[in-house]
Symmetry: C3
């Protein structure tokens, strides 16, 4: 199927199914994540008590795990939630925020990767390089790396973890084991808003919950935020991210 047709189908499926997206995520950007998931036409829920993970995940159409402000308690909840999701064929997104910064983050992420099969992993270049075992110069949650070798890293990891890898930055790189896309949308000002990465991951969860198609979901999640940034810059009154739909045809 042509990419345009796949995009159209993904939005139509999203509109029909209104997928419930369960997040265990950080408390910095959680409100914006809930709001973008609503804006795209899905339904968000955030919950992190381990005792309710089995039932909560079972109600969901997709699960998003974001380690931004994770602690020992919430990592345990993520492990539980991910294993339930895998058992029930509910797709899971990983956002390994700042994974290179500390041993706790690296070890926690390693546990998540060992125990859970992810459909999509999205991060900036520094985070994805850390997953790839490379040295990455991390400056907190923002990446300072150049992106020349991104395609190679992304496709290598996609094969290793049998999932889609999305590296977001000035240029976005999205690969599965066979195909790679680079996207050149977005706007400089997106770097001045906290959580645009988290929001991309949340939106990938929304598309995944509707379609169960990792590659097109990753493309649309990333593209939605990028084009929202372009629209905001053009000073258009921005009411509903579904307006993005028509514009996606032009860019994808």
């Amino acid at each position: 199927m042509q990419i345009e047709a796949q995009i159209k189908e993904a939005f139509e499926t999203l509109e029909k199914r209104i997928p419930l997206v369960h997040h265990i995520t950080n408390y910095v950007t959680v409100n914006d994540c809930a709001n973008v998931v609503l804006a795209i036409g899905a339904s968000p829920i955030m919950a992190d008590e381990e005792r309710e993970m089995e039932e909560m995940v079972s109600l969901a159409d997709a699960l998003v795990l974001n380690i931004g402000t994770a602690n020992e308690r919430t990592i345990a909840s993520m492990l539980k939630a991910g294993s339930v999701a895998n058992a029930k064929n509910i797709p899971v997104v990983l956002d390994p925020v700042g994974v290179g910064a500390t041993t706790f983050r690296r070890e926690s992420t390693q546990k998540l990767l060992d125990k859970i099969a992810f459909s999509v992993i999205r991060g900036n270049m520094a985070e994805i390089k850390t997953l790839a075992g490379l040295e990455a110069k991390s400056s907190g949650v923002d990446s300072l790396e150049d992106e020349s070798d991104g395609l190679c890293i992304a496709q290598g990891l996609a094969k290793k973890f049998n999932c889609v890898i999305a590296i977001t930055g000035k240029e976005d790189i999205i690969c599965n084991d066979t195909f790679c896309y680079t996207l050149h949308n977005g706007h400089e000002a997106l770097k001045k808003v906290t959580g645009t990465g988290c929001m991309s991951s949340a939106l990938i969860g929304a598309f995944l919950g509707a379609t169960h198609k990792p590659l097109i979901s990753a493309i649309l999640g990333v593209l939605s935020i990028s084009i929202a940034g372009e629209m905001a810059d053009k000073n258009q009154r921005y009411r509903n991210i579904s307006h993005v739909f028509n514009r996606c045809h032009k860019y994808a």
Copy 2:
């Protein structure tokens, strides 16, 4: 007293007393809850460490308990806070977010209902039906139920728990053991913003802290958000929710 006079009095009392509203609430919508409480003219505080609940609640004029992202630790804090509030005659609001979704939420809410006397319980139709022991088809935190039997359920629960029950949705239903009101304000777009329910509960707390009158507080809390939605839709520059005051006369 006529409803118009009660509304006027409630806003005047709120302005005079500037009630302090203590919240143990979820981390998704907490910032918006603090901001609406400030906007209406009250003073918010959010705190959840069990060790400080006795003193913190004692300083407050009202307490709002919201289980949106509750965990075992914060449920314990809620139980403590509620019992202190009851002992000191400080009114308490319950927002049983997503109570039907998991056993943890149902059991935790049951404990809260067993140990604490609430002045107002506010939820969507699915949440209130769960409290009533009925089957409710819950889609995460949003309700998909029709509202035909809402009046009956609300008044039954109001009698059972000796409090005001507010069911919010396209039509809002607010009952105590004697009276029922239905409100038809609001705007479709409110469903596209996360936390409008939580914000209603927070505002009910603000009015309760000022007036100690559960019925008028529930009406005004719900109405403030509904009319704010209408005003936002009409593209009026929305600076201060107290502008809502004049319009309340027309609708209540």
Copy 3:
């Protein structure tokens, strides 16, 4: 150096260094704190798991500790983070939100003051009076005190704790052991937005991370929020807090 030259130098240093500011802060205002730190040109990170504090703090240029929604777990993380920061000569800001409200807050703050050397402590009058051991009538997180004796209190505490004390309110008072500044910027409407105090503390952290100069950092952190409030009131399109720079010359 003249104050104008110091301001200019601070902004230039900030722009050059892009300091990483680590926050252990409350979940009410955390998103706005991250966004103002980005807006001023620094890089925020929020993390509170004790196990990662040593490494995370070591990456940072400044540390901001805010007790707004602290609990026993996060106070332990703050103590660890502060001691690491002190050992590595990374400046630390304390925001003792609502310290007078409960024994837990007073005792936790006392522990922080006993174990950590702070570069700047910022609070409202009630909070700073509590630190000074005076009775302060606290209304939640907002101060109701008059500010006549603020200069005396601020300078006394500055000497006692060997740091800069910033008292924010209608008039802002900023003292070290030798100098005192009073600032008369700001706008009434800032009281209607939750977290303007937290945001000031976060911005002080950003300037401190760049300059390691507590006095000018406290002045600029407080002034940035005050002038942002003035600009918002004047209905100027507010895109980037760095526009504040030019206006600082006029006011400082």
